[in-house]
């Protein structure tokens, strides 16, 4: 293939008329003859960007976590040590917050999967193609509206004199006290990330060939059995793939807990340490926790073949 290309390139070497064209041709020719140069030109910028800016930043974050803050001036002291980590391990409160964050993130992920499966299944296997397009559009549309606005909408809905309690009152169902609670966090996060889960689940279900399901039916399996034994196992990697974002986005959030919650997430502690207490080394150390949790999640996802579904 490369051979053919090179030969064609040579055949085309007619003298170009202008100097600009000549230069262009020279550069083009060089790039043609030296694929490594082409690769360097294409890949260089992004490699430089990602390695220097992003991976470099992650590295610096890791390094910063070994520094400490001077308690008198509040300045960062670049003395290597495990002070921050020791503190994280010793103080029970940081464990409590981490466990709480991961717990709510898991609850949200499971909820989203449970909600996503029926809607994705309906779209992928039951709805007509027209309805399917409309459904997919409706799933995606909320993602295009502002994240803050959606969080804030729930704050109004769940407040004591909000839409929810008014509706319950109209239906003579009493009232609930959900505003500023863990329940509201669970509802809001499930709401926010549902589309991210629904889309990959849809993709996974859509890919299952009809013949497979027909075969199962022909062999006498009820739908329930087919769903449990055929559909779910095939769709499972897709479901796990979809769950990655729901989990990661909940894990790294600090705004929703602030706006609709009554409790602190890992993100709140980090945000406060950066924006308020200015203890960046400690914030960096604590930021390693969600990074590790997410790393573990991704590893498990890989074991479950989720990346093959991606």
């Amino acid at each position: 293939m490369a051979e053919t290309l090179r030969r064609t390139g040579e055949r085309l070497a007619a003298p170009p008329p202008s100097a600009v064209r000549r230069l262009r041709h020279a550069v083009g020719g060089f790039l043609y003859r030296v694929p490594a140069a082409r690769l360097a030109l294409l890949l260089g910028p992004i490699l430089l960007w990602m390695v220097v800016i992003y991976l470099g930043s992650l590295g610096l974050l890791f390094i910063t976590s070994f520094w400490r803050q001077d308690s008198v001036t509040g300045a960062i002291v670049q003395n290597w040590g495990l002070t921050n980590y020791r503190f994280l391990v010793q103080e029970e409160v940081y464990r409590t917050i981490a466990i709480r964050t991961v717990g709510i993130a898991l609850a949200v992920t499971v909820t989203d999967i449970v909600l996503a499966i029926p809607i994705a299944y309906y779209a992928a296997r039951i709805a007509s193609s027209r309805v399917r397009t409309l459904l997919l559009l409706s799933i995606v549309l909320p993602l295009w509206s502002s994240y803050l606005v959606r969080v804030y909408a729930w704050r109004t809905i769940l407040s004591g004199d909000g839409v929810l309690n008014w509706s319950l009152h109209q239906l003579h169902l009493g009232s609930v006290n959900l505003g500023f609670s863990r329940w509201s966090l669970w509802i809001v996060f499930s709401y926010l990330w549902l589309p991210y889960v629904a889309l990959p689940v849809y993709a996974a279900l859509e890919r299952i060939p009809n013949s497979l399901i027909e075969a199962s039916t022909d062999l006498g399996a009820r739908w329930r059995t087919t769903f449990r034994r055929v559909i779910l196992p095939i769709a499972f990697p897709g479901i796990v793939a979809g769950s990655i974002f729901a989990f990661s986005l909940t894990l790294g959030d600090y705004i929703a807990p602030n706006l609709v919650g009554d409790t602190e997430f890992i993100g709140n502690v980090i945000y406060q340490n950066v924006g308020i207490a200015n203890n960046i080394p400690f914030a960096a150390a604590y930021a390693i926790v969600p990074a590790l949790v997410m790393g573990a999640y991704l590893l498990i996802a890989r074991q479950l073949k989720a990346f093959e579904a991606l």
């Binding site: 409706s138 295009w144 804030y152 991210y196 859509e206 986005l249 894990l251």
Partner: protein, 293 residues
Amino acid sequence: MSRDRAIEPRSVQWGMAVVTGLVLLFLYVPLFVIMLYAFNPARSQAWPLPGLSTRWFTATWNNADVRTALLTSLKAGVGATTLALILGSLAAFAVHRFRFFGRETVSFVLILPLALPGIVTGMALNSTINLGGELIGLSFSLWTIIIGHATFCVVVVYNNVIARLRRTATSLVEASSDLGADGFQTFRYVILPNIATALMAGGLLAFALSFDEIIVTNFTSGSEITLPKWIFNNLRLPNQRPVVNVVASVLLLVSLIPVYIAQRLTQESGGLVSGRAAVVPAIEASAEQAAVP
């Protein structure tokens, strides 16, 4: 793909339809509530509304801060999108055309800024900007916002472009060369038209992602106010609630435009995708399947 052969029993079909309806209700009620609140004549957020009024629309129109924030967000979005388009499509070309060491890790590294929790990405960039401040006098500005946004926008463009390149027959490129076109001409007349819609879709998604970002932006923007930051700040001021409601509803309506364009652009790739979801190539794969008649 015909659906007449659905094997699901009626009861299951109905059950799924009902749940789907409920989930849609769950997705849309909050959006409608916000739209209604924009017409709330009172400052108080109590429900039901005491009436309807457009007085806050006028107040919002006259609010200079909103316009400044909008402008900042637009600038940041355009800057980040431009960078993402360049970096993302170059990376896509490289991965598509060449076999090289570490090729498989490229997409993994690109996806990291989105897959890792926002607080981690934000903190990491924040540390770097602070260090940059100490070493080379870097300060928080529009540029640091753009750099931060571009970092996680690249993958959106990359995924769109590489998916398109994979579908573009290599024979086209060969034919172009055979007909005497040099590399630039082939790019200009063959490759570019082919990936144009993918670029536009990717760019649009990148812009949307940048325009709405706050988790990372809070760490990279310093005193620069983007529209989400303005909303965040004003949510904290009791008197500004009505104006926030108006901004929110207008944003909601305006967002229909890019959704429509993106849907049209990526129709053949079924690309009903948005921001983060666009990095789930499973959708692309399934869409390709769906596109086969």
